[in-house]
Symmetry: C2
Subunit: 217 residues, 2 copies
């Protein structure tokens, strides 16, 4: 019974996600669904990305959180259109929540919309929201064994940002093991190691974003 | 509709959790449900705890993971009864999964059973498994703003282990803010700062465990 209900929920979500995607395509907006555990560095990466790209690539952000508006306040301080979704307990965003948030955003002229999902390495991987690209972020402090333990997120993602590489000297993180595990679950996954603290690797990520956005002018 | 189904699932889970709890009480076993994000340090803390306590406090472990048996292999190497639950996608353990795992464990003489939940700061907080104590672990690298953003886990937990304090010199983590935020969502929460790398604070955690177990001789 439970399985049937879950299947029904997922199918209903797919329909709404498809409508969202059509709406984004009509408006020429590229949408990135940014996912990762609490504290992986989603909001900080977004802040760095906005500062680097907002002149060349008009951006907007949807912030997904269970409760609070901490993240939306951080993003709004960078003077781009931002809206907070509070899921009220739910562990992921779905197509419906994103659709309902869109009228709150000034999307005219926006070329790139980043949706920061609820901090969770599991559930957001199951729900499309109408995005063009799924980006996941994980930090070195989370350990090199995670691809094999949480495979779905690695399987569905198009790009993996490996954050906090500045902390590597203090950790027992094996970069080769991590990359090999990630390749095993998703051979096509692009891995971009970065540090939001030192800035290392961020240019590669900015270029990745720019390339996806430029194709949609 | 969805809400009603979720309510039904939670109620069914409560009944099974209650039966598990009775079974644990009958056998004089204290059960701790250990929860936290991927990479917070659950398995490493467990390894340290087993090494420190296994002579004085006979232990057993249930390892919960979506897939893989990495963690159960690490724990089994410490020569205590261990069983792996693979949820096959589900983002948390429930009472039913724990009940089904019990016959696989040699529980004779065991005084402390630790159940390591799936790595997730959200969903495991909603499901009782029949435990006596909920313990959560979070690492300093996850940020000082998490209690306000993921309040349920902090509200339901009896003890909060703050791991990776050895990394504090390299982070912008504000300990006072973190403790204040945690107190705001749960004034009764015991906070134990530790480092599994340096060993700092671990004695306090071992004593916490021993005190809970001793009362149940």
């Amino acid at each position: 019974m439970e399985v049937k209900v879950v299947k029904h929920i997922l199918e209903a979500n797919e329909r709404i996600a498809y409508q969202n995607r059509n709406l984004f395509d009509d408006r020429g907006i590229v949408v990135v669904n940014l996912m990762g555990s609490p504290g992986a560095g989603k909001t900080t990466l977004l802040e760095r990305s906005i500062e680097a790209l907002k002149e060349s690539t008009p951006m907007a952000v949807i912030e997904g959180d269970i409760t609070s508006s901490y993240d939306a306040e951080r993003i709004a301080a960078h003077a781009i259109p931002t809206v907070q979704i509070n899921t009220g307990g739910a562990c992921h965003l779905d197509g419906n929540m994103v659709r309902d948030a869109l009228p709150e955003l000034a999307l005219d002229g926006v070329r790139l919309l980043v949706v920061e999902n609820v901090g969770n390495l599991v559930c957001p991987a199951e729900f499309n929201i109408g995005e063009h690209h799924k980006a996941m972020i994980i930090s070195t402090t989370e350990g090199d064994d995670k691809p094999g333990k949480y495979p779905l997120m690695f399987q569905v993602s198009h790009v993996l940002i490996l954050n906090k590489i500045d902390l590597l000297p203090h950790l027992s993180f094996d970069m080769e093991r991590f990359k090999e595990e990630a390749r095993k679950v998703n051979p096509k996954l692009t891995v971009i190691p970065i540090s939001c603290t030192t800035g290392e690797g961020l240019e590669t990520w900015f270029r990745w974003l720019e390339e996806r956005t430029r194709g949609k002018a």
